[in-house]
């Protein structure tokens, strides 16, 4: 579905990612983990085609399945938007489109200019909003919604894009714990029911452990570990990546700062 080969990325002189090689299969649900500034968001933006890597390339399958992958540089913005949906970290609120109009924008990659939305578009939007439990927000303006509601509207828009791949950049930060569970349950449901490939940047290791079957741990410009989340989040890996002591307890991690050696 997605293959990264020899991906390297720098900002000016500073190398962010170095020689990343990785493959994501169809229907995978990956948590991308790592300390602040380790390149999680950069990686996601490269996959979304928002950032051009300095070397290496990102390949995705043009139609679902594992069939012949193509570098994303060969897709037009429109073609890419029919395959990858990206939910940003900070949902923007400084415009006054209603919830319905916002989700309807997700249909843009399927519309021609000067063309109005079809009944099919409206049906898809309603379905996506009902699925994400945001249908009651269809007339609300962004400033009338809570952070959790706005985030769900953004996920509804990503669903309305009808893409096989959804990327999310910290969708649960800034939300209280109940809403974090809410969003994660929703993503699991989307992954299970619609078989969408999901890559998710998340900071809460326990949230990842609880909901994401697979994880990718970034450290020092490269991949430290990947595979089943419980194995990736071994105490050794956590110590290397975050400098934090971890102790697994019945499918849960107990975390504490490393004791300083005096």
């Amino acid at each position: 579905m997605i293959t990264l080969s020899h991906l390297s990325c720098c900002f000016g002189e500073k190398q962010i990612l170095h020689d990343i090689n990785f493959h994501v299969g169809e229907g995978d649900f990956y948590a991308i983990l790592g300390a602040n500034g380790c390149g999680k968001t950069t990686l996601l933006r490269c996959i979304a085609g928002l950032l051009t890597p300095n070397s290496g390339e990102v390949n995705i399958s043009p139609s679902g399945g594992e069939a012949t992958e193509r570098p994303i540089a060969s897709f037009s913005a429109r073609e890419l938007a029919q395959r990858i949906a990206f939910v940003r970290q900070h949902a923007q609120t400084d415009f006054e489109f209603s919830g319905f109009e916002t989700v309807l924008m997700g249909r843009n990659p399927y519309q021609r200019r000067l063309q109005n939305e079809s009944q099919a578009d409206w049906d898809i939007v309603e379905q996506c909003m009902r699925h994400t439990n945001t249908w009651h927000l269809r007339f609300s303006r962004p400033h009338e919604m809570s952070g959790g509601e706005l985030q769900r509207v953004m996920i509804a828009r990503a669903l309305a894009q009808s893409t096989p791949i959804i990327l999310l950049d910290e969708p649960t930060s800034n939300l209280d714990i109940a809403h974090q569970f809410d969003i994660m349950e929703l993503l699991c449901d989307i992954n299970a029911r619609e078989h969408k490939t999901i890559l998710l940047v998340v900071h809460d290791l326990n949230l990842a452990l609880q909901y994401c079957p697979q994880a990718l741990l970034l450290h020092d410009k490269g991949i430290l570990a990947h595979g089943a989340t419980s194995e990736v989040l071994a105490p050794d890996n956590i110590r290397t990546a975050f400098g934090v002591e971890a102790e697994p307890q019945q499918g849960h991690l107990s975390l504490r700062p490393m004791t300083k050696q005096l």
Partner: protein
């Protein structure tokens, strides 16, 4: 109300207003006289057509800029087009080019385009256009050019009045020649902005979001800026700097229609044209036979209207 119906209604209203306004003025005539009157055909009609086109241009470009720059305070002059044009006009007036057909206009057009070109050069990094740099450079250059113009005026006392009068904007000397120059650019530009109105909505949500939703952001941005720049440059060169319209008409429309540019852009064409027509008619009739500068009237009439609309719609801001 359905969009086509509303647009049709506005178009009819605009046409009616154009006919109505052409009847007003120092010289009054009946319907029969009107068809044979050179005053009607050679003075009033070109003036009315030009004012409608300029009003539409400024409003549509204002709407486009506010979405492209995602900033409600931008107007069509924010990139320094107006100051660039004023500099050209000042030079032309000092050099005595008024005597020639479009002597001031061509100078103004040239300097306006050069100014914007200079700003684009500075603000493009690789093939991307950095919008904040674009805005800041525009504002800064405006100050610089204004200073140069003041300096020119001090050096040429005798021309000061005509320079100031030009910068306040006026349709008094409009001719069919102006109309013929401005019309093609206006038509092409308005069509371009209309064509991209859905993209403008997505740009309003942020350029990365727009990219993610299938808009070729840099391409669309460059195309829109190219056409709007040409439109505004031609408009300013033909009639001088008329402020306020481009800033406020799109906002007034938005207060009624909401932020969707597929409504804001078409309505702005007619509301902008209508507003400019009204202001110009006032400018030439209130103090007959002398004229008020239309640039000051737009703000005088428009500002209270806009503040009233803001007040009435308090909840939505």
């Amino acid at each position: 109300m359905k969009r086509p119906v509303a647009v049709l209604l506005l178009a009819v209203l605009l046409l009616a207003a154009m006919v109505g306004c052409s009847m007003m003025g120092v010289v009054r005539f009946t319907w029969q006289e009107m068809w044979h009157s050179p005053i009607f055909w050679q003075l009033r009609m070109p003036r009315i057509v030009l004012s409608v086109m300029v009003g539409a241009t400024l409003s549509v470009c204002g709407a486009a800029y506010q979405s492209v720059f995602r900033n409600p305070l931008t107007d069509p002059y924010v990139l320094g087009i107006s100051s660039g044009a004023s500099l050209g006009a000042a030079i032309a007036i000092i050099a005595g080019l008024q005597a020639y057909l479009w002597g001031i206009g061509s100078c103004a057009l040239l300097t306006a385009l050069l100014t914007v070109l200079f700003i684009y050069r500075i603000a493009s990094i690789g093939n991307r256009m950095h919008t904040t740099t674009l805005l800041l450079t525009g504002v800064c250059l405006t100050f610089l050019i204004t200073a140069v113009i003041s300096f020119l005026m001090v050096l040429h006392h005798d021309k000061m009045e005509s320079i100031i009068f030009w910068t306040m904007g006026s349709f008094a000397s409009s001719s069919w020649f102006d109309v013929a120059l401005v019309a093609p650019v206006t038509l092409a530009g308005v069509f371009m902005v209309l064509y991209h109105s859905k993209d403008l909505n997505l740009l309003l949500a942020g350029s990365e979001t727009a990219q993610g939703l299938g808009v070729e952001v840099e391409k669309v941005k460059r195309r829109l800026l190219f056409f709007t720049t040409l439109m505004v440059a031609f408009a300013v060169s033909s009639c001088g700097v008329i402020g306020f319209v481009g800033l406020v008409v799109p906002h007034c429309v938005r207060l009624v229609t909401g932020p969707d540019n597929r409504r804001v852009v078409p309505y702005s064409i007619f509301v902008g044209g209508l507003f400019m027509l009204m202001c110009d008619t006032l400018a030439r009739t209130v103090l007959q036979p002398s004229e008020l500068p239309v640039g000051s009237l737009t703000a005088l009439v428009g500002a209270p209207l806009f503040i009233y609309l803001l007040y009435k719609n308090k909840k939505r801001i």
